[in-house]
């Protein structure tokens, strides 16, 4: 009896631990900070995506977001598969495809960890159209939080998996934009879409800062490891120390970035940034045939999806309305 309770407790903690550290292990252990930099930074290329106008890619991202939000989960899953496969067409595509798969996996694991044990039975009944649940695990009472008794059912796992498909396609579409468009291309596109220059500039500086942020975090984490963090721990629990180092690095990295931000502000404002509400561009945006075809296809997909949803086909939230 006591041994059984002890085993329950241990396994419960193990599941929580795996749920929390799993996505981190994927991101930091398998993709790594340098890999993360690779999939968040533009690299020049010549394939289809690189030739598209940034406005087209932003529209593509918005349409993917809308369709994923409106439609039944498998449409999101289909989009995820198509977008992930399209990473193979990018410069150094195979490597980026692997990173995209890993990132998608970590998103799925994190979503299941975040949703599955906490989804109310009523929601599951409505969403999955079932009355009987197949319980996989029940956490001890001391895990309950704000009235939720941690219970994992097969239906809650499936439901969470379906929910994750709304995020994964959007993440991949956003990455395609970032990976295949220069920051200034994004500025020009957003300006064309009417977004104020101050907002677009903030985005561009953020995009340019992403590699610096990861490099700074990487340097800070490694400095802690060199100084002995986790050196006495068993290798199997090193990810926890990695997480500790990551959290400890936040303040020094923020201070480091803020010190640099002052220079960035001076550099922009002493070159007439925000002189006028609009800017001109040395290289104006042009639309090619590929842009027109792509825009036509995504517009058609959007219209079909909205029409289908309005008529009850493939709705994202079938139990409402």
């Amino acid at each position: 009896m006591i041994l059984g309770q002890l085993a329950d407790s241990l396994l419960s903690w193990l599941f929580v631990l795996v749920g929390f550290t799993g996505p981190l292990v994927i991101v930091f252990g398998l993709i790594g900070l340098t890999g993360f930099v690779e999939i968040t930074r533009f690299e020049s290329g010549t394939s289809f995506y690189y030739r598209l106008n940034p406005v087209t890619k932003i529209v593509l991202g918005l349409v993917v977001t809308t369709i994923s939000a409106l439609s039944i989960w498998w449409i999101g899953a289909l989009l995820t598969v198509l977008l992930a496969l399209s990473f193979l067409t990018l410069n150094n595509g195979r490597r980026k495809f692997v990173f995209a798969l890993l990132l998608t996996t970590s998103t799925v694991v994190a979503t299941i960890q975040g949703f599955a044990p906490y989804t109310a039975a009523l929601t599951l009944e409505e969403a999955m159209k079932v009355k009987v649940f197949h319980t996989l695990w029940v956490w001890p009472g001391y895990f309950s939080y704000m009235g939720f008794q941690h219970t994992l059912t097969l239906e809650s796992v499936i439901y969470s998996l379906q929910i994750s498909m709304r995020f994964t396609s959007v993440t991949l579409a956003s990455l395609i934009l970032v990976l295949t468009t220069t920051p200034s291309g994004i500025i020009r596109a957003l300006s064309k879409l009417g977004v104020p220059a101050a907002v677009t500039f903030s985005l561009v500086v953020a995009m340019r800062s992403v590699p610096r942020i990861f490099e700074a975090i990487d340097a800070s984490i490694k400095a802690q490891l060199v100084r002995g963090l986790g050196s006495r721990a068993h290798p199997s629990i090193r990810p926890i120390y990695y997480l500790e180092a990551l959290i400890s690095s936040i303040v020094p990295v923020l201070v480091f970035l803020l010190r640099g931000a002052k220079n960035t502000a001076i550099s922009a404002d002493t070159r007439a940034f925000r002189a006028y509400p609009k800017r001109t561009y040395a290289k104006p945006l042009t639309y090619s045939k590929a842009d027109r075809v792509t825009l036509l296809l995504v517009a058609t997909a959007l219209v079909v999806d909205v029409y289908a949803a309005m008529h009850g086909y493939g709705r994202g939230i079938p139990y409402v309305g």
Binding site: A223, V226, G228, L229, V253, V255, F256, N263, D269
Partner: protein
């Protein structure tokens, strides 16, 4: 204040006029800058020098309009914090919008990494003209002219993040020139750049005929040949304002205020010579039998570190070097950007980028660490990255210094930490937040923290970068004190003068291989071939040893 303007009455049209200027930073009792009057003529080249915190950057920020338009901001302008006026070609800086000022005065900052905003070279240079809403033809014309005047046409199409520090700084300079300003400010433009990059940038500045140029620089020697005038600042005030040709007569004054003056200038002054020619100075020293200071290099037969390092990026070999370090030795490592210095250091510490492959045979204090993990190597080797602030993760200095002993479970660390606190003069800051300390104090905390857990070998990646002479000297003396206690250091640096003054041995890397290895006196004989100009002290030393 030493003002000798009457010696060369200003015949030029005034480009910059400063009148009754005072600026006080929020929360500070004392003003950071007080300048009664300063006039800079059109086409004049002016060097502004002084130690860190002397008010140089505040002065140029008032000239380019960053103060008061950005800091504290027009809406927050308080007369008790900012008074007086600066005029640029007749425009009152405090009353002229920053974007208008940006067409008259351009500014190149110290750190190229943070001032370059755009993805590729062309976009970066076009950024300013585009902000001015110029037609695309005019933007392209200006970009092309700026590229030619800086000589970076070969960088067209390159991504800015792939450029070296020197290349990036020249791109930043072209971006400033594309605004076609009549006044140019260079705020310590070479501090973070390797010697070759610095030389290229200084050549560019020298070529800017017709523009008024204000250069803020610690290393007087490098810009003295082409500036008309030198302004010395301290405590927010102008201490001296003299023609460049008069500097030799004032080297005592400049040295006293922490400005980096070559030793040969000091000898010339003491010998009553009005020349910077090392041959003439050396002849006079020999003739008069004056004794010359030469650093005593430590001989370190006992090796504490021996390593063979190979690092690959795909099939390309980035580093293929064999290196050793003696007990109590300070070893300088120099080389061009991309020579493999930092990569070698990271490979030794076990903190290489994951996408690089390495084969490291490493023995420290007789222990084979070839297959050791980061943590295992860290038991024997301390590593301090260039951005040492990133290592400061604790809430107090004491916590930071005891971080490593605690994590490693080192017993009896109190004596060692106490000794480091004393050597590094950190006694009064032990309960302070490390990130709130001054630059020099933060560097000392990072060094102390790296050494605290019974480590005798430390790898320091560019600890001299971006620092003024006083800070570099302080670092050199700290390392020497620690070396005398048996600590050994590998110091990657671009500063040949630091090596000359403080290192026992110098290794020059070229394309990842050890090209030169020996005492600085012998290595500097041929280091120029590898992009490392020797310091003036070496030239004097060589002249003195000529028969």
């Amino acid at each position: 204040m030493v003002v000798e303007q009457d010696r060369w009455p200003l015949r030029l049209e005034p480009a910059v006029v400063v009148k009754g200027l005072m600026h006080r930073y929020p929360g500070r009792a004392e003003p950071a800058l007080v300048v009664d009057e300063l006039v800079i003529g059109e086409g004049e080249f002016v060097l502004v020098t002084g130690k860190s915190g002397s008010g140089k950057s505040t002065l140029v920020s008032c000239i380019n309009g960053v103060i008061p338009h950005l800091f504290p901001g027009d809406a927050n302008l308080d007369p008790s914090q900012h008074s007086g006026e600066v005029y640029i070609h007749g425009l009152a800086v405090s009353k002229t919008p920053l974007h208008v000022l940006s067409t008259v005065v351009g500014t190149l900052l110290q750190d190229p990494e943070t001032q370059v905003l755009n993805y590729d070279v062309e976009e970066e240079i076009a950024f300013g003209p585009e902000n001015l809403c110029l037609p695309s033809d005019e933007v392209n014309r200006r970009v092309s002219e700026a590229i030619d005047s800086v000589g970076i046409r070969h960088l067209l199409g390159r991504e800015t993040y792939t450029l070296s520090g020197g290349e990036l700084q020249r791109v930043a300079a072209a971006a400033v020139l594309a605004m076609t300003p009549r006044v140019l400010i260079f705020d310590e433009p070479t501090s973070n750049v390797d010697p070759e990059g610095s030389a290229a940038l200084l050549d560019l500045i020298r070529s800017l005929k017709g523009k008024s140029v204000i250069i803020v620089e610690h290393k007087v020697e490098r810009v003295l040949p082409f500036v008309d005038r030198v302004i010395l600042m301290d405590g927010g005030r102008i201490i001296a304002d003299i023609p460049a040709s008069e500097l030799l007569n004032k080297v005592d004054l400049f040295s006293r205020y922490g400005v980096e003056i070559p030793e040969s200038y000091e000898y010339a002054k003491s010998l009553g010579l009005n020349t910077t020619d090392t041959q003439r100075i050396a002849s006079e020293i020999k003739r008069r039998g004056v004794s010359v200071r030469v650093k005593q290099r430590r001989m370190a037969p006992l090796k504490v570190l021996e390593a063979e390092v190979r690092v690959f990026s795909g099939e390309r070999k980035l580093v293929d070097a064999r290196i050793s370090l003696g007990s109590g030795e300070i070893l300088g490592v120099m080389g061009r950007n991309g020579a493999g210095k930092s990569t070698m250091l990271k490979a030794l510490a076990g903190v290489l980028d994951r996408k690089l492959r390495s084969d490291v045979r490493l023995s420290v204090c007789g222990v084979d660490l070839s297959g050791g993990s980061v943590g295992e190597r860290g038991k024997y080797i301390a590593y301090v990255p260039q951005n040492f602030d990133l290592t400061l993760v604790s809430k107090t200095v004491m916590d930071e210094l005891t971080y490593s002993p605690r994590k490693r479970g080192v017993r009896d660390w109190r004596n060692r930490v106490g000794e480091l606190i004393r050597i590094l003069s950190l006694e009064e800051y032990s309960s302070s937040d490390p990130l709130s300390l001054s630059f020099g104090q933060r560097r000392r905390v990072a060094l102390g923290s790296a050494l605290a857990a019974d480590v005798k070998v430390a790898l320091l990646d560019e600890p001299t970068s971006g620092q003024d002479f006083a800070h570099r000297e302080a670092l050199g003396h700290e390392l020497s004190r620690l070396a005398a206690l048996g600590y050994s250091f590998v110091v990657v640096t671009h500063d040949s003068r630091f090596v000359w003054r403080h290192c026992d041995r110098l290794v020059v890397l070229s394309q990842g291989r050890v090209a030169l290895d020996g005492a600085p006196e012998s290595v500097f004989e041929s280091s120029e071939e590898y992009g490392i100009p020797p310091p003036t002290e070496f030239h004097l030393y060589r002249r003195l040893n000529e028969r």
